[in-house]
């Protein structure tokens, strides 16, 4: 096995029953060229230290569970190649801006509450009967929202967002982008039901367009653009309703 190399992995540890403050622990891991940071964590868990806790599931950038800080940057650990860091050591920490439950596991409650609040599903005033067939969509209508539908709820954007770091009430990039995704969907009629949260003080208006959310997104979603588009649309609609109060509010 001549292709094995050894890399140092420093992991943030926090075991609330044993310690008041997080500490760190360094492991030496022999890795193959095609290993990612998540492989190293699984190797540690299976062969070196079974007490290490972290979330993961699909290992292929689909489930969004394995987001962590790798050398200070929010990353999916299943997509962060160890060879890109070697010979330097790798620091793995839980996603910042979230409370730590244990080791690399964070508490996602805040994000889940906000996600639910934007109602990220198709809302119809009235469902048409099944006998009338599917809701058809043109390729152009699909294109309007497709990129925003790629979000896997990995929360890297929340860890990257300096505004969320300062202001925890901020609804945040992924939740707003997902609300926007449904607002842009030709089958959806729920815009008004999402407006009070998306256009709230804690919604789009808190964002200062730093753009880090879009930089770190592993699925190339552009939440900063979603927020910017919503700001323009909300401002235009507000102006229209002032100039033409009798107009159809849509």
């Amino acid at each position: 096995m001549s292709d094995l190399r050894t890399i140092k992995i420093t992991v943030l540890r926090y075991r609330p029953e044993e310690e008041d403050e997080p500490t760190e622990q360094t492991y030496e891991v022999e890795f193959r060229d095609d290993w990612v940071v998540l492989d190293a964590l699984n190797h540690i868990k299976d062969h070196i230290d079974g007490t290490l806790s972290f979330r993961w599931s699909c290992r292929m950038g689909v489930c969004g569970s394995c987001g962590m800080m790798v050398n200070g940057e929010p990353k999916l650990t299943c997509a962060a190649m160890l060879r890109d860091y070697y010979p330097n050591e790798v620091r793995v920490e839980p996603l910042v801006n979230f409370p730590i439950v244990r080791d690399l596991v964070t508490d996602m409650t805040d994000f889940m509450d906000k996600l639910k609040a934007v109602k990220p599903w198709i809302i119809r005033e009235e469902e048409k009967p099944v006998s009338e067939g599917e809701y058809l969509q043109t390729p152009d209508q699909l294109k309007d929202y497709k990129q925003f539908s790629q979000c896997i709820n990995c929360m890297l954007c929340y860890a990257a967002c300096p505004v969320y770091g300062l202001e925890h009430d901020f609804v945040g990039p992924a939740a707003i982008a997902l609300g926007h995704r449904y607002n842009l969907d030709s089958r959806d009629e729920g815009n008004q039901q999402r407006q009070h949260i998306i256009a709230s003080k804690e919604g789009i208006w808190e964002c200062t367009y730093v753009g880090e959310c879009s930089v770190v997104c592993p699925k190339h979603v552009d939440p900063a653009e979603a927020i910017q588009q919503t700001k323009v649309a909300t401002t235009t609609n507000r102006l229209k309703s002032l100039v033409m109060p009798w107009g159809n509010k849509k």
Binding site: S200, W205, T208
Partner: protein
């Protein structure tokens, strides 16, 4: 968490946004004309003399243009300063900052209108 649509923020953000466009597109032209072209001798300083400019100001279209040029960027600055101050740690002043910043811009607006329409 009870969310409520914010009614005034679109107005301030709209002014911020328009001010940004004007600051980026028009102000550099004026900086070039007054700050570079004259000192470098590219244009005759007489073209920007006090008499010529005050005569130009008699045209209401010039006044409107100057209003747009001077007023909108004030709101751009106010909005930026408000969020920058909040983010560098003045969180406790979150309620006062908009009043101070947009109040400053409103005051600036009054000054511009006074100079253009009362003094000239």
């Amino acid at each position: 968490m009870n969310y409520k649509e914010h009614k005034s923020e679109p107005f301030w953000w709209g002014m911020f946004s328009q001010g940004g466009v004007i600051a980026a597109l028009l102000i550099p032209i004026h900086i070039f004309l007054c700050g570079l072209a004259v000192p470098l001798g590219l244009i005759d300083p007489e073209l920007l003399s006090y008499e010529r400019i005050t005569a130009l100001l008699q045209n209401p279209l010039v006044k409107v243009y100057l209003c747009v040029l001077l007023i909108f960027p004030l709101y751009h600055a106010a909005h930026r300063i408000r969020f920058t101050l909040a983010e560098i740690g003045l969180h406790s002043l979150a309620k006062v900052l908009p009043v101070l910043c947009y109040g400053g811009a409103l005051l600036g607006t009054a000054v511009v209108l006074y100079i253009l329409w009362v003094l000239f």
